[in-house]
Amino acid sequence: MNKTLSVCGVGLMLSLALIGMPGCSKKAVQSGGDSQPGQGMAKEGIDSSMSGVGTFPDTSGQSVGGGLGGIDKNPSEERLGGGTMMAKLDPSGAGRQLDEMRAEQAASAAAGLRDVFFGYDSWTISEDGRQAMTRDAEWMKSNMSALVKVEGHCDERGTSAYNLVLGEKRAKAVRNYLVELGVGANRLSVVSYGKERPACNEHAESCYQQNRRGHLALKTGK
């Protein structure tokens, strides 16, 4: 077991170095929303650095004794600063991001692209979902320059982390079905928003239903 895994780890490092090599084996056993074959690990863009790993500071230095001086009979004065935090913020990018999101939403609505809804903790596409996507696929085939970001969303139940993984399964299930319907895979990217960007904020099933969705966002910017 141990040996197999470390061999696998070496394979991963090699494939990191030689972009385009398939990653670790076992790809064939992927299931559910992940059944897209041949999705090489390197293809999704290790472009920020050669290895996809940035610089790492030494974070091991722990202070000893909590920086406390101890209580004593003749304490000398300790001067306390306002702490080392924090840097000034530059919020100028936040507004641009919001504009970009609104533009994507408006473009998707104008194109009549439909959302796909899921059952609780499920990434299986329902009959309604198939019908919606059939129309979405038709639109994409008649608008060949359009690029779509498939977003996977979840309701608020469950943990943030697990819902991110669930949202990715939903997004990939939608992407894979669109590919089955003949949309070029290179026109579709996936992103999971988990439960972090809900369409609806009530604590009720009617709202949860709206949030368990795959959403097609028309790319307008980069």
Binding site: T4, Q30, S60, G61, V64, M86, T159, A161
Partner: protein, 479 residues
């Protein structure tokens, strides 16, 4: 003198208990006595606890723990005999006193006694050397108060920006000794910090641990469609915003040295990378850009490894990055989702979430990916694990009666407790560095906010009151 006996009897009781636990759990490798920490050597003499603890270590039973949250743990009774305003505004002392009392209470080391309620008037306590203070000490000893603390606070000058001075005193009725004090100075903006620091000194004196009053909590707050990182003091005060990029910034974790946060960033648009940010400077950069969804980063206690989940090879798998060589080691190979790694205090093991059996469950493995075994069997949804810095518990989110609540389980799976009940989704438990508290998010009051809870499920305290959605709290290491 009766007080001395009482205190030593208490320590003796804890030590006996710890020894017994050590024998019972001698197989649990990640259960630690606090005396094994690096700060162990700095503990000054006179702490009975320490001598006994060394005895246990030398006898070979290293895998034991002292836990202040056990039902039979007896707290040290402590009275705050006022922080008196001297040469400054009347509110100044009162403000410091309020913060100090809350810190003392939250420490769970002390039992905060109500001195006026015991009939003890403390206005004449002065510097603890006059006849008035002697009378107060006698009264306190008679009423079973083990420790008295008090202080003075004032302004150095008359203008608004003038320095604040605080002097704190400690009297120990067991030894009938004015053991000393602390003197602090700083701008009016550090008044709370003076109280926190004094509280941590008290905890340090009586337990040899640094205390948690100066720790911080990082969390995620909703801002429109964005989620940005914030840091606040452990008591919910002094909130500072760290990011403002308008994208999602999720699930921050602290570096062991408290200088950095590591988190998932959406600012790349096409892939979700793992970024780091330096608190002091705001400098931010990407550390994991493999492609796909990269989430739940967690640095090993020694800072040498980063465990994280990544879907860059298809589905979500766990990886371990050597932060010095940059070598990446794949830990899991499974068609299901693997995520949320959390390190044992020794760095030898990881607890993580996998849905390889259907719903999400907790699994354990060695830090090289070997020796995988399932930890949770109760319920069909167990996720978001966090391994206590003391090693004895793993906190996580358990689904019970369709609600998502906090549970803890021992690493051997033998003991399990549900900590919270009622409605709402509880998420992202994170331990205080002393292992006595958890911080978590909950929608119990409607919107998602941050709460603190004792490790035994008592005393829930809400920490955030502003904003529309606060989540993913992470408790800093002790300074």
């Amino acid at each position: 003198m009766t007080q001395v006996k009482l205190i030593s009897a208490w320590f003796g009781g804890v030590l006996l208990l710890a020894g017994a636990v050590g024998i019972l759990e001698s197989g649990a490798a990640d259960v630690f006595l606090e005396a094994t920490r690096p700060d162990f050597q700095k503990i000054s003499g006179g702490v009975l606890l320490l001598a006994g603890a060394v005895g246990i270590l030398e006898s070979g039973a290293a895998d034991v723990f002292l836990e202040a949250t056990r039902p039979d743990f007896q707290k040290i009774s402590l009275g705050v005999a006022g922080i008196h305003s001297v040469g400054g505004p009347d509110w100044l002392g009162g403000r410091i006193e309020e913060v100090l009392k809350k810190d003392v209470k939250r420490s769970l080391v002390f039992d905060l006694v109500d001195l006026p309620g015991l009939g003890i008037q403390t206005s004449d306590i002065g510097n603890g050397v006059g006849d008035g203070s002697k009378a107060i000490f006698r009264q306190a000893a008679e009423k079973g108060v083990s420790v008295l603390v008090w202080g003075k606070a004032g302004l150095k000058g008359s203008d608004k920006e003038a320095d604040v001075n605080m002097e704190g005193f400690v009297y120990d009725s067991g030894s009938d000794e004015l053991v000393g004090g602390k003197r602090y100075a700083g701008s009016p903006s550090v008044v709370r910090l003076m109280a926190h620091r004094f509280a941590d000194e008290l905890v340090f004196r009586y337990t040899g641990e640094p205390g948690i009053a100066r720790t911080k909590i990082a969390y995620v707050a909703e801002q429109g469609a964005a989620r940005e990182l914030f840091v606040m003091d452990y008591d919910g005060h002094d909130t500072r915003q760290l990011t403002a990029d308008g994208f999602l910034n999720l699930m921050p974790q602290w570096s062991p040295d408290r200088r950095f946060l590591i988190f998932t960033s959406y600012r790349n648009r096409n892939t979700q990378n793992i970024d780091m940010i330096e608190l002091a400077t705001g400098k931010r950069w990407t550390v994991i850009a493999l492609g796909g969804l990269n989430i739940t980063p967690s640095l090993s206690p020694d800072g040498n490894f980063l465990a994280f989940a990544s879907s860059h090879e298809g589905n979500s798998e766990l990886y371990r990055l050597d932060t010095r060589t940059k070598a990446i080691h794949r830990l899991t190979t499974n068609p299901s989702g693997d995520l949320s790694p959390s390190w044992s205090p020794s760095g030898r093991e990881l607890v993580f979430v996998s849905d390889r059996g259907g719903g999400p469950q907790l699994f354990l493995m060695s830090s090289d990916g070997s020796n995988v075994r399932r930890l949770t069997f109760e319920g069909d949804y167990n996720a978001a694990p966090s391994w206590s810095p003391r090693g004895n518990w793993i906190a996580y989110v358990c689904r019970t009666q369709k609600e998502y609540k906090l549970c803890v389980i021992s690493p051997d799976g033998q003991k399990r407790m549900q900590l919270t009940t009622g409605q709402g989704v509880d998420d992202s438990p994170s331990w205080s560095p002393d292992g006595r508290h958890l911080v978590f998010s909950s929608t119990a009051d409607g919107k998602s906010h941050i709460y603190m809870i004792d490790a035994d499920g008592k005393d829930i305290e809400r920490l955030t009151f502003q904003g529309t959605h606060n989540s993913a709290p992470s408790w800093s290491p002790a300074s």
